[in-house]
């Protein structure tokens, strides 16, 4: 008797524990081996870019919270930088520092979440995720203390930040950044020397430096592939040029490198926050701008190094109170685009781990 092997289609998603949102993978499989992947996106499309054309520049800030809801501060920052560049608004020194502090806190929170869910995808029954949630909670408490919101912060303003942090903020953030390096060491102890994790993540989902650059990959994924490229150093914005920090770069470009680069970036963020808190200048935290900002006709593009990669905001003005065109360069979408290349030929568990290591946020992919 002969048996015929034929490939079958497995739908991973839209509801699946590992797609981290409403996102679907159509996987053509031969047994456990993946022959082809088709990514279906759009389940979370809210047409933010079009909606933004109907609202004033300030009213658009809350939209940016809701694209990448795990890194609202970074999104706020990117958009405000673009609007300021368009309207020619100067930002006070203190506001720049506060922006750096909050963007870096957000990076730590986002990387905690990214690494935690990544390990979850590798099968560790949410213990590392819960450990990392513990620190993320404290960061979210700081956000709540400062601006009243935890996830969708809406904290940055065109011309500065919305509020000066309250007095209680400083001891709390100091305690946190004293504690964080120990916590990161704890994750390292729990995970990095774990033989099973190494076996699961090393040489899985390898992306070479050339491929990463050709695919326009940015952020920790690009750095894990060995390309030393970080906008905070390559094209400093806010006050990043005044801080002393390192950019971790991986060797192979596999899932393990991505995990390690994120872990190391959390350490570097702590360094940046500590320096920014020490040098935090006094002065106003915001430049007053007209309520209905009407920039001169023109266009502006500003990019920041978000937790997931290069986060770009392209804003066009026709002289009116609302942007004529509003576009977001979403790193999640572009980083996801090479999943097919990384996962085809691998087995299903490898593909899931690779997907976890790209650290996507579906809200940002679909916008």
């Amino acid at each position: 008797m002969t048996t015929a092997n034929e490939p079958y289609v497995l739908n991973i998603g839209p509801q699946h524990p590992s797609t981290h949102g409403v996102f679907r993978l159509r996987v053509v499989m031969d047994g456990e081996r993946i022959q082809d992947i088709d990514m279906v996106i759009g389940y979370l499309h809210r047409s933010m870019e079009k909606l933004a054309e109907e609202r004033t520049y300030t009213q658009n800030i809350p939209f940016t919270d809701r694209t990448d809801y795990l890194a609202a501060m970074s999104n706020n920052l990117g958009y405000c930088l673009a609007a300021e560049r368009l309207a020619g608004v100067e930002v006070p020194e203190r506001a720049s520092y506060l922006r750096v502090i909050f963007a870096e806190l957000q990076r730590i929170a986002s990387h905690s979440m990214g690494n935690g869910t990544f390990i979850n995808d590798a099968g560790a029954w949410s213990t590392p995720l819960m450990y990392m949630f513990r620190e993320r909670e404290k960061i979210l408490d700081l956000f709540e203390m400062t601006c009243g919101a935890r996830l969708t912060t809406n904290y940055m303003r065109i011309g500065g930040v919305a509020f000066d942090p309250p007095n209680e903020f400083y001891p709390a953030v100091n305690a946190l950044i004293d504690e964080l390096p120990d916590r990161i060491d704890e994750y390292t102890e729990l995970l990095v020397d774990n033989e099973i994790l190494l076996a699961r993540t090393r040489n899985v989902g390898v992306l070479s430096a050339a491929d990463a650059i050709n695919g326009s990959i940015t952020g920790p994924m690009l750095r894990a592939s060995g390309v030393p490229w970080d906008l905070r150093k390559a094209e400093p914005y806010c006050s990043y040029d005044r801080f002393d920090f390192d950019i971790p770069v991986g060797h192979v470009g596999d899932c393990y490198d991505r995990f390690m680069v994120r872990l190391e970036e959390m350490r570097q963020s702590v360094r940046i926050i500590r320096q920014a808190l020490e040098d935090l200048p006094s002065g106003p935290h915001k430049t007053e701008i007209p309520l209905a900002l009407r920039p001169e006709p023109g266009e502006a593009y500003a990019r920041v190094e978000g937790p997931r990669g290069e986060l770009g905001f392209y804003v066009v003005s026709d002289g009116g109170p609302a942007p004529y065109r509003f576009h977001i360069r979403a790193p999640s979408l572009i980083n996801l685009s090479l999943l097919r290349q990384m996962a085809v030929g691998a087995s299903l568990p490898d593909a899931i781990v690779t997907l976890g290591s790209t650290d996507i946020v579906v809200g940002e992919i679909d916008r």
């Binding site: 590798a122 990095v192 030393p228 971790p248 770069v249």
Partner: protein, 471 residues
């Protein structure tokens, strides 16, 4: 700034005087009861009587003696057909089965709580603490919810085959408890082929699981079922080899004899044969579908594996059996490798079944601990671990144990000397063979090659990347 927004939350522990008084009274009563019981035990008032609570089997033995007297008065025709002691057999079987069923049911109820609570503590959260005191009624609430839920059957599923597996998987989960040796006289089924019975019964669950996966008409379920079958068949072999070592050493397949051997020689088999203990435990995690070997229901990959499509109490049965089997593995590890109901003489004071339960739950705790700590293997890694590492090494170890047993038969040293030599030889062999075999197969510790990220001070593109790599 209000206190609610204060990020540094101070935990204030309030101890009410009422609680303290209650606790005090409970402690005093407990102490008094302990002293009373200790007096009764020490004075030897219990020894051999039917009311000896240290071994419930004694009461049963007395009951059966009495029933046999009753039996003698029965018509001879009936006895010729059913045997001499049919009344005592039937009564014993019914009573024992009731006992096991009660234990198993209560165990499943409490385990839901225990497991979630333990995992919660491992994961720096509280676990269920809302329903009842300490959340103890959570399993009841879960069960009520599951019973109320509609049972959905996917279109295209084979209805009969779909209904059968939750029941089928329950039967072996229950039957394995029959051979558990709780105390010297507390064995429900003290058969002389206990080990074979155990292996045979536990492997039938594979069939039910495969049936569930196939009948669901779902890709995830099918993948899970295929994985389960592949894994279970692979890990049956090292599991059986580990048990073979136990049988070789003790010379019996009867579980009570195996425990008695450990008692007589004042040693735990786990100490004599660490490799067998590890093999048995690791293979059991594969059989149980628990981390690090839970690939059959790998949540992040194939949702829930073979029981993806089951809802309501049908899912509940799968879930409960899984928990029950975990304790069963703890029980068998205790019986085979950790001295069963013995605890170096303490079993005359403490009821042996309590010692046994403590050991079984200790094994179960290790399983929960592993589940809360380790990531998951990949299917091919797991298979290669079984076929390339566990099975050859176990085979060699079986050979060594056989040689040792033969040597012990011809040499007549004192027990202590013989067993120390055997233990030392097995330990040395384990360390040697694990290293040698891994090196022979070309395994190098992964850790040595791991490169941590390097720090870049200079930004750049592809050329900078190549420079960094060559550096």
């Amino acid at each position: 700034m209000s206190a609610a927004l204060d990020p540094i939350r101070v935990r204030v522990r309030v101890t009410s005087p009422r609680l303290a008084v209650t606790l005090g009274i409970v402690l005093v009563l407990f102490g008094a009861a302990s002293i009373g019981i200790a007096y009764v035990v020490v004075s030897g008032m219990l020894d051999g009587h039917w009311y000896d609570f240290r071994d419930l089997g004694l009461g049963m033995a007395h009951l059966r003696e009495w029933l046999n007297e009753v039996n003698a008065g029965q018509p001879a025709a009936l006895s010729a057909f059913l045997g001499d002691q049919w009344i005592s057999y039937i009564t014993g079987a019914l009573l024992g089965a009731t006992g096991i069923l009660t234990f198993f049911g209560l165990l499943l109820l409490i385990l839901v709580w225990v497991e979630r609570r333990l995992i919660g503590r491992i994961q720096v959260r509280k676990g269920p603490n809302r329903v009842g005191p300490f959340g103890l009624l959570q399993p009841v609430a879960d069960a009520l919810k599951l019973i109320q839920k509609e049972v959905l059957i996917p279109i295209g599923a084979d209805r009969f085959m779909f209904y059968l597996p939750p029941v089928l998987v329950f039967i072996p989960g229950l039957l394995v408890w029959a051979v558990v040796p709780w105390a010297p006289n507390m064995n429900y089924l003290d058969t002389n082929v206990g080990v074979i019975y155990l292996i045979a019964i536990s492997s039938t669950a594979t069939l039910a699981i495969f049936m569930a996966g196939w009948a669901s008409n779902n890709h995830y379920a099918l993948l899970g079922a295929m994985r389960t079958v592949a894994m279970m068949i692979s890990y049956e072999i090292p599991l059986s080899l580990a048990l073979l070592m136990v049988v070789l050493m003790t010379g019996s397949m009867q579980l009570s004899t195996i425990v008695q051997w450990q008692v007589d020689h004042h040693v735990w088999l786990g100490m004599l044969m660490p490799l067998a203990l590890f093999t048995f435990f690791f293979s059991s995690t594969a059989e149980l579908n628990r981390t690090p070997n839970d690939i059959a229901e790998a949540e992040s990959e194939i949702v829930a594996g073979f029981h993806t499509e089951y809802s309501g109490m049908k899912f509940g049965l799968f879930y409960a059996v899984e928990l029950g089997n975990a304790v069963a593995v703890g029980a068998f590890v205790a019986a085979f490798f950790l001295g069963g109901w013995s605890l170096f003489g303490l079993e005359t004071w403490i009821p042996p079944y309590l010692i046994f339960a403590a050991k079984a739950f200790g094994g179960y705790f290790v399983l929960v601990w592993l589940r809360g700590t380790l990531p998951r293997f990949r299917l091919d890694q797991l298979m290669s671990f079984a076929w390339k590492y566990l099975i050859p090494i176990s085979l060699l170890q079986v050979l060594l144990v056989a040689i040792e047993v033969t040597a012990m038969r011809y040499m007549h040293f004192p027990d202590f000397v013989e067993l120390s030599l055997v233990g030392a030889a097995n330990l040395a062999f384990t360390i040697f063979i694990v290293r040698a075999w891994a090196t022979f197969l070309g395994y190098r510790p992964e850790r040595e090659q791991v490169l941590k990220p390097t720090m870049a001070k200079q930004m750049g593109g592809l050329r900078a990347a190549e420079e960094m790599r060559t550096r």
